[in-house]
Symmetry: D2
Subunit: 324 residues, 4 copies
């Protein structure tokens, strides 16, 4: 079927490529004409403006917005909503906040425009492996778009089947789910990222402990000089902690076990934060997910005000001078 | 080659089976004669006592102790040390504390008996998938035992190679490493388990947030009724959080998404605790690994003294009555 | 000067009493006529409706709203805003969310009505000890209300002066501050409560460790049978951890060291949650404050879904049965 | 009564001074003859060696060791034990690990030498305010030393009595307790310090959130420019978070609210670590106390290996470049 794509960065471009390869057609638009031209060369139909983009699409239209979350996506959705007609569909495939999805769906509903939010995981690997998708929207619309999702998804592949899933929704095994109404897709994706932070931090702390096993803080005779890269590699084979993140870790450590090219300044997208906000709103304890986010905050500070205050208190009660 | 095995529980028994299947021979001993008989029926040579076990083995002997960590393993290693001769090897394949390994190796050294500690991951799946092994001991001994480790390990299998590992120790790709001197094997295995706790807790918190997304604490119109089992399944396909633990989670949720058969009383082995002790000794921050362990502690209490004290303070400053 | 008070619960009533005792006059209103009558008997002027309340106050009016945060306060502020005139002042002395203060101040500004938010600490002890107040609002209005704040505050009392404060705002030493524009008062109070949770949890964990020092998990000969009440008491005298919360703890433990009358179900007001939301918004690591809030969440669950999921995973990879 | 003091640093010297002022006599020894001479000038009897120190003391002797914990204290206790006789008492007033106390008491017992461990809080303020003491040892010995403890303790002072303590051990109200057998004193002191870390970190995080309330991460119109020093001061008056640590904080902030003279490198003594080890041994959740210690660990690292590993993983799955 036909899909319109707005935003031809790495993600948007590759989604179009995977769809074209799967026998679908695409109308594409981007602020950058070169990005449009590149995909036209691969078989897509280009548009020079949002208006032309909408005119070119066959009704009922399906427009996938793949832009940075926040003002850019918001502005595009609003403008698109103005140009589209009843029964058209706007898909937000970016990393929007799920409460924005809920609001946008309600704003578009009176006009009959459907809003679908798609959270995707797989990033740069999606073109090759397929995109793992979590979809929010009304059932009729999500069903109508199924051919697109089916093509984008990884498919059942060679991963062993989960015992006991017979008779349950087959889409999950193919790599996509209809999670619920508008917002549900990004909500599930948001928690996915929260978990991702927690998993990453668990590995990070563990490898940090391994790395410091030759610390002179330790008694002599109780220090080890471990090969961190080999440890990551061996855990990929039959251990309980094997995972795709561990595969990536093993790859990074194979290059340089000391990671000297990394400063350790760790960014975070909004999703880890929103996951904690959701946990707090739901009264769910989330010590691990919180600690994972806070470690990133801390990685971006040289000397925190909190630490300085500790030093000041220590000086106050014990006359302790900072040892450095 | 020949291996002696002491302790024929699930782990010890299956290790013998995998070795026999791989063309090795085995002498076996267990307090329970039936366990011995079962393996004799599968091709092993049985022994009725530790003394007979040692006499039956060809010198230089290799005895693998696969018993519960703590007093039982300790007692067996001591007794075995008394019976063995120079150049014999004692392998502790259980979950001993690495400082005990360091001590035992030192105690056995004057007599010329070698001590090797092997941490294994893979548990009940090892017979089929192979055992992921982290080995501590002196290089000559570990090299001598290589045929055994090679057979027990999963082998390189179908898992994609890690780019950039060319020319590095091939054993890691086959699923076993010589981590360092005595104690290093169990040290690496210990941190492995610490990470495992952290990973598990990251998933647990994330799924808890998903599960509570229909909480009445949330504003109406912002609640979801998610299919938790489908979410676990879809993340297995191309997502960043895919892992073996997630595969297990998907399996558990396919059976009963509400997990009603589980009380939520979560045990912990010593290794998560030792990992934190090591982090503290090394001055490495480990908020995630700590939180994961503490969540298990908390799962085993009905009403903690800490919580009661909070209630008592609240009553003191605000006259708050407990709401329940 | 004259103050109007809406909401004559423990807090509102006692504020009026402290003002009357300090030579001020008060007009009071409450949904419950008996609460009004009680304060009229003590010298206040009563009102039978919000309209009468506003009519009775001398212009420019000052109306202190002391009601539960959320819909009740919101509705009252809106209604009051409709009844009041330019230069009148609405004070919200409850525990409102500071972003609501910012919004309300902006909504009332066109009409010339001033909005002041006052966070108070001291609770049931305020009548006697005075109220510690953090005030947000424009400078002219806060200055105009100074006689009221001065009377309500504890005053400089017998607490030793902080060295080095000479020449700084004297109000802080008297127990109240003008923190900034509307919202700043409740913001500071919010963080105060976040800290309070952290302090309480630090004591709670410490006393829990003391309480468990006779645990049979510990080796024999390394257990203690401590008198928890005496420990709380001794720390009140010259130790680094002395505080008002410790005073309360000592009081609670003097009664029953085992706290058997407390179930350990610990409520939380919104402020601990908002503090974390603020930390997340500001990218400030807050592991301690988060852990303190999550401990309360956890105290209110019998068996968490997260814990059940851990058990399910453990069963999956190791065949572990729950030990209970 | 007579006390011998070994180690005349700030703590040891001031303890002697407070005892002399209280009518006791003292024999003093230190490696540094000038430290001895200084106290002789104030009325103590000096000794030029440990042997002379022991000879000079009247039997049964009481020797207080006030030296850095670890090897120095250990060596002194061992040497002293060799010199002393039945019924003599060795007091370790430093910050020894409680398991070392238990061991030492057992080692000295056959000879009839009593071992008493005294944890003290109050630090540099003790000479003036008195020392808050937690004492471990056998009852007869602790009772015999009571005149010394009574003089050193702050006494009941002007701090309000805790209601409900009538009839309970009066020593707690005077500022010292007999916590239990040898080791119990340092155990209680250890947990005291663990709590201290938690309290400090709770304040540190809260003030960090206040400090960042003008962060440009926040939406315009929702930022505050708070006077941090005034906030610390106002909370000293009637608020729930008032404490001695807050008094110190207010003092530090009165000098320089930005704490520019502090690097934020925060040391930790062993006691915070031991407290966590105890919590782990007892299976008590201690998220707050752990986070407090880990914050100090993290304050001493520029770029942690854990953070670099996060960056490496992020690059692996998303092609993310570090933003700095």
């Amino acid at each position: 079927m036909q899909l319109g794509m707005i935003g031809l960065g790495r993600m948007g471009g590759n989604i179009v490529r995977r769809l074209l390869a799967g026998g679908h057609t695409a109308v594409v638009f981007d602020q950058n004409p070169e990005a449009v031209a590149a995909l036209v060369a691969e078989g897509a139909t280009g548009a020079a403006s949002l208006e032309e983009f909408v005119r070119t699409l066959d009704a009922p239209r399906t427009a996938w917005v793949m832009l940075p979350a926040g003002e850019i996506t918001e502005g595009t959705v609003v403008k698109l909503g103005g140009l589209m007609a009843a029964d058209d569909v706007i898909i937000d495939g970016g990393n929007s906040f799920y409460k924005d999805d809920i609001r946008r769906a309600a704003e578009l509903r009176p006009k009959g425009v459907h809003y679908v939010d798609v959270g995707t995981s797989g990033g740069v690997w999606g073109l090759e492996r397929g995109y793992c998708m979590m979809i929010g929207g009304d059932t009729d619309t999500v069903t109508r778009l199924d051919p697109i999702f089916e093509t984008l998804a990884p498919g059942i592949g060679t991963i062993p089947r989960t015992p006991g899933r017979e008779g349950r929704d087959a889409r999950a095994e193919a790599g996509y789910i209809h999670a619920g109404p508008s917002g549900a897709g990004h909500f599930v994706k948001m928690v996915h990222n929260g978990i991702e932070y927690g998993l990453m931090q668990a590995y990070a702390e563990g490898f940090d402990i391994l790395k410091h096993s030759n610390s002179t803080d330790l008694p002599e005779g109780q220090r080890f000089d471990l090969n961190i890269g080999d440890i990551a590699e061996v855990w990929r084979r039959g251990s309980v902690v094997s995972s795709w993140l561990l595969d990536l870790t093993a790859g990074a450590l194979a290059g340089d076990e000391n990671l000297t090219n990394f400063s350790g300044f760790v960014a975070d997208s909004g999703e880890g934060r929103w996951t904690l906000n959701a946990a707090i709103e739901e009264s769910v304890p989330a010590n691990v997910l919180s600690a994972a986010l806070y470690a990133r905050f801390r990685s971006r500070e040289d000397a925190s005000y909190a630490d300085k205050l500790l030093s000041a208190m220590r000086k106050g009660f014990g006359g302790h001078q900072e040892p450095k």
